[in-house]
């Protein structure tokens, strides 16, 4: 009976923070998440959903509930840089897959927020792995503009969306070409024409042409055009990125962020000059397409060394179900430091690439991604180095609320820990 009414109990117990409880996590190795070195024996104070203080010599309030983290690591939760979290339960089961709304006839207007379902299993599975926030993007289907993505939290509650319509997502390169008539020339033309139409729409001009854009799409693109909404662009090849940098000159207010960017290292100085941040795939090292001929795991390290602001994301790579790979990917980037000729990140940089840097790139670094006073208390206690394969999250706070770490996979594990039946069929074992 220990799991009786698991879901309901979890929600009741965890949905609201205990009123004005102060929590002090003491004695752990504290990682702030901003790229600075871990602090041994540090303290993190949480109150009202926020971090009050974190560091070496932090006084513990008398009324605080203490959590002893001696021998453990305390970090900001993982901020998953690019995902389709909550948009699918079983990818191949259409009714549960909301990644693409392109057949709706809309493009840029699509807003994933109402499709993000916190009761879908990937929430619980990835929460248990220390992932606390995620950038959630739609998939493109009929237009280079896929629609508006959100920032979500992985809390066990009914309100997953931290920030709706936080960005617009677009496809360039091979995928963009396929969505715009079969040539990259078409992609650029579509991009220019659709933004121009959005301006026409705003100006109330009669030549507004809804062949490419519906009014709702035009409204969404206006936000991009004015720089109020970031534009995340999936692009892999060096030439495609260079041409986008040129395109950006004609649209100086558009805030571009490149996603994927497998050949980013080849044009790192240009990325720096154009001040375009990158949410990169960590371990692409194969020429999966002709736009990824230069793919190497050293991509992130080389871009970082050149001065590019770079975070880790998982575009088109198990991006709805396996956000828990994020720490492993970061660990791999650290390992490159020990490979002759390769370029990786230091441990501190790598952790920042999955916490503060993606939050900063998405414009929410003032609230998320690091353990600093005033930021949301997304805090994870780990039983070891969080980037190491043997480690696990033991306690997870999101907005200061301690989270349940149980999920459907644990239940199956417990049922089949001894696979043979007992006095009753397995169906009675729970």
């Amino acid at each position: 009976m220990r799991h009786f009414l698991f879901a309901a109990a979890a929600l009741a117990a965890f949905a609201t923070p205990a009123v004005a409880e102060t929590i002090a996590i003491t004695g752990g190795r504290v990682v702030v998440g901003d790229g600075t070195a871990p602090i041994d024996g540090g303290t993190v104070i949480i109150r009202d959903g926020n971090v009050i203080a974190a560091g070496a010599s932090v006084a513990v309030p008398a009324d605080a509930r203490r959590i002893d983290a001696k021998g453990k690591w305390v970090t900001p939760g993982v901020f998953a840089g690019f995902t389709r979290l909550g948009l699918s339960e079983v990818d191949a089961v259409k009714g549960t897959n909301d990644k693409s709304g392109g057949k709706s006839g809309f493009s840029a207007a699509i807003d994933v927020a109402p499709a993000i379902d916190p009761f879908r299993s990937p929430f619980a599975v990835n929460r248990a792995a220390g992932v606390t926030r995620a950038v959630v993007a739609p998939e493109a289907a009929e237009s280079i503009f896929a629609g508006q993505g959100a920032i979500a939290d992985l809390g066990a509650d009914s309100n997953p969306v931290t920030r709706a319509r936080a960005f617009q997502f677009a496809e360039f390169g091979e995928d963009g070409s396929a969505l715009s008539g079969g040539s990259r020339a078409g992609t650029h033309l579509h991009f220019r024409a659709m933004l121009r139409e959005a301006q026409d729409y705003a100006a109330g001009r009669g030549n507004f042409d809804d062949e490419l854009l519906k009014a709702e799409d035009a409204k969404a693109l206006l936000n991009v055009l004015r720089g109020e909404t970031r534009l995340l662009i999936h692009v892999e090849g060096a030439n495609d990125m260079l041409r986008l940098i040129e395109l950006k000159r004609d649209f100086p207010s558009v805030k571009m962020v490149f996603v994927g960017a497998s050949e980013g290292w080849r044009i790192a100085p240009q990325l720096v000059e154009a001040r375009i941040p990158v949410i990169a795939s960590a371990l692409n090292d194969l020429p999966a397409t002709f736009e990824m001929l230069g793919a190497t795991q050293s991509n992130i390290g080389r871009m970082k060394d050149a001065g590019v602001q770079v975070a880790i994301g998982m575009i088109n790579d198990r991006d709805s179900h396996q956000l828990r790979y994020t720490t492993q990917y970061a660990g791999n980037i650290v390992s490159l430091q020990f490979v002759p000729g390769a370029t990786g990140l230091t441990w501190d940089e790598a952790f920042a690439a999955i916490s503060s840097v993606p939050a900063d790139i998405m414009g929410v670094g003032d609230r998320f991604g690091s353990l600093k006073a005033g930021k949301a208390a997304d805090v994870v206690i780990w039983d070891g180095d969080p980037l190491e394969l043997s480690s696990a999250a033991t306690t997870v706070f999101i907005d200061g609320v301690e989270q349940p770490l149980t999920n459907r996979q644990n239940r199956l594990r417990d049922r089949y820990a001894r696979p043979t039946e007992g006095d009753l069929p397995k169906a009675y074992d729970r």
């Binding site: 969505l179 650290v334 000729g341 199956l412 696979p419």
Partner: protein, 474 residues
């Protein structure tokens, strides 16, 4: 869109969904595949026909090398601290503690802080038959024109220039791998076991004297692919029925072949008869526990043995049955949720199998994860430990070395560090079960085929020559 979808699915898991791409192209082709095209020559059973497409692989020259002061995982569950591994003439010569004699004049490598394992073996790969770049023209893994194509051989689809072989070597320490046909078909055709050594021809990569396997597939893929064409099978019961009808034919063929009279050769039936003879192993893609149990009974009905269930995400539910039947489970650490039959996957699968005494193999089915099989194993080990199942590091290494070698019928030649075996081994720059470790040097048959400290000992396929990033660290 076609290409995009294919690429996406390649990236995001699913060898099974790739089958959807070529099918669209083939929708207008003859629904009845060229079943009889292969049936021509007449043969007598007594005739000893040389095996076609024989291996031309030859070990490259190596130098007698001793690694000392190194932690050794021998692949069979043994661990030696501060050990010595000595290889000469392409073979493992001796493995032991610090007292192990090292002959004078041989190359000596100080392995302080480093680890040695046997070469990693991936029992489930599509390198070569679904190579990168993942373009339509390279989509050679599924002969999805008939639900049973035992007549096709994966080696005839393998492109030896797949850049993926080099990544599997340099980042994954993979020294041997089984290339399988895809899973669109109930009987997908013969597999081929390769040495992970580039060659101009696939024959030049073939693992000498490795037995053949035959790919079979349960569940969603065959019934979806053929059901969508309005033909059998369109259900799981159809899957089993088509299989059984085909095995009946195979028994009949075998009887004719063994009768001493002249008979007409049939390539598909030759492969199936080879399975019934026990010469060709069954490599069976099967996710769900209940379906694996049905397959085991079907195997009993027709008198063949299943070597390994691949993608066996529900093996944990019937770990005792699999143990009792001596069948291995080739599993991922934690893939789940990409399709209905992967819904009940749990990260403790491998640990529960091991704890029950069943055979565990960690496989990739993926050109990226083949570069990190050691890491996948480490995650599965850690998930076991958290549920109270403690599996030693040395035992976990067995999941990647000796167990797949055994399931492929090559454990007498490779898969563990035992004197006389092929010198297929990896020197890691740290504990291979740590995320921070990478291969430092890899030997295949005693020849140094990868050396992290020497850019010249890093293979570059024809495809990558003259391209951006040629010879990069990758």
């Amino acid at each position: 869109m076609q290409k995009k979808r294919q690429h996406k699915h390649m990236k995001s898991n699913l060898r099974w969904s790739i089958v959807a791409a070529p099918l669209a192209l083939m929708a207008c082709s003859n629904a009845e595949g060229p079943k009889t095209a292969s049936a021509t020559p007449v043969a007598k059973p007594a005739e000893k026909v040389p095996a076609p497409f024989p291996s031309t692989y030859k070990a490259y020259p190596g130098v007698a090398t001793a690694i000392r002061n190194v932690t050794v995982y021998d692949g069979e569950g043994g661990k030696i601290d501060n050990g010595v591994v000595f290889i000469t003439a392409g073979k493992i010569s001796s493995v032991g503690g610090p007292e192990t004699a090292i002959p004078a004049g041989v190359m000596v490598i100080d392995g302080t802080g480093k680890f040695v394992t046997p070469g990693i073996i991936d029992i489930h790969s599509h390198l070569g038959d679904y190579p990168t770049p993942s373009v339509e023209a390279h989509s050679d893994g599924n002969e999805a024109t008939s639900p049973t194509t035992p007549e096709v051989w994966a080696e005839h689809s393998v492109w030896p220039q797949d850049p993926g072989f080099s990544r599997a070597l340099a980042n994954g320490g993979v020294t041997a791998l089984q290339i399988l046909p895809g899973s669109a078909n109930l009987m997908g055709g013969r597999s081929v076991v390769l040495k992970n050594v580039y060659a101009r021809t696939v024959q030049g990569m073939k693992f000498p004297d490795a037995p053949y396997g035959m790919k079979m597939a349960c569940g969603e893929n065959p019934k979806r692919v053929y059901g969508a064409k309005g033909r059998m099978p369109s259900t799981r019961m159809g899957n089993i029925a088509v299989n059984r009808q085909t095995w009946i034919k195979a028994q009949d063929y075998k009887k004719k072949r063994d009768s001493g009279k002249e008979y007409t050769r049939d390539l598909g039936m030759e492969t199936l008869a080879g399975v019934l003879d026990g010469d060709i192993s069954i490599q069976n893609h099967c996710y769900r526990a209940d379906e694996m149990a049905l397959v085991l009974d079907m195997a009993k009905e027709f008198g063949y043995k299943v070597s390994t269930f691949h993608h066996a995400v529900e093996s944990y539910k019937i770990a005792d049955l699999l143990r009792d039947n001596g069948v291995c489970s080739a599993v991922w650490a934690d893939w789940w949720g990409f399709k209905m039959e992967a819904y009940d996957a749990i990260p403790e699968n491998a640990a529960i199998l091991q704890n029950t005494g069943a055979c565990v193999i960690i496989h990739s089915d993926d050109e990226n994860q083949i570069q990190r099989l050691n890491q996948e194993a480490a995650k599965a080990q850690a998930d076991g430990r958290r549920m109270g199942i403690n599996i030693s590091d040395a035992e976990v290494i067995k999941w990647l070395t000796y167990n797949p070698a055994k399931a492929l019928g090559i454990s007498d030649k490779t898969g563990s560090l035992k004197p006389g075996k092929m010198a297929d081994l990896v020197l890691w720059n740290g504990n291979p079960l740590s995320v921070y470790a990478r291969p430092y040097k890899v030997w295949i048959d005693g020849a140094l085929m990868f050396d992290a400290s020497n850019p010249k000992i890093r293979p570059v396929s024809d495809f990558e020559l003259g391209q951006p990033g040629e010879g990069d660290v990758k």
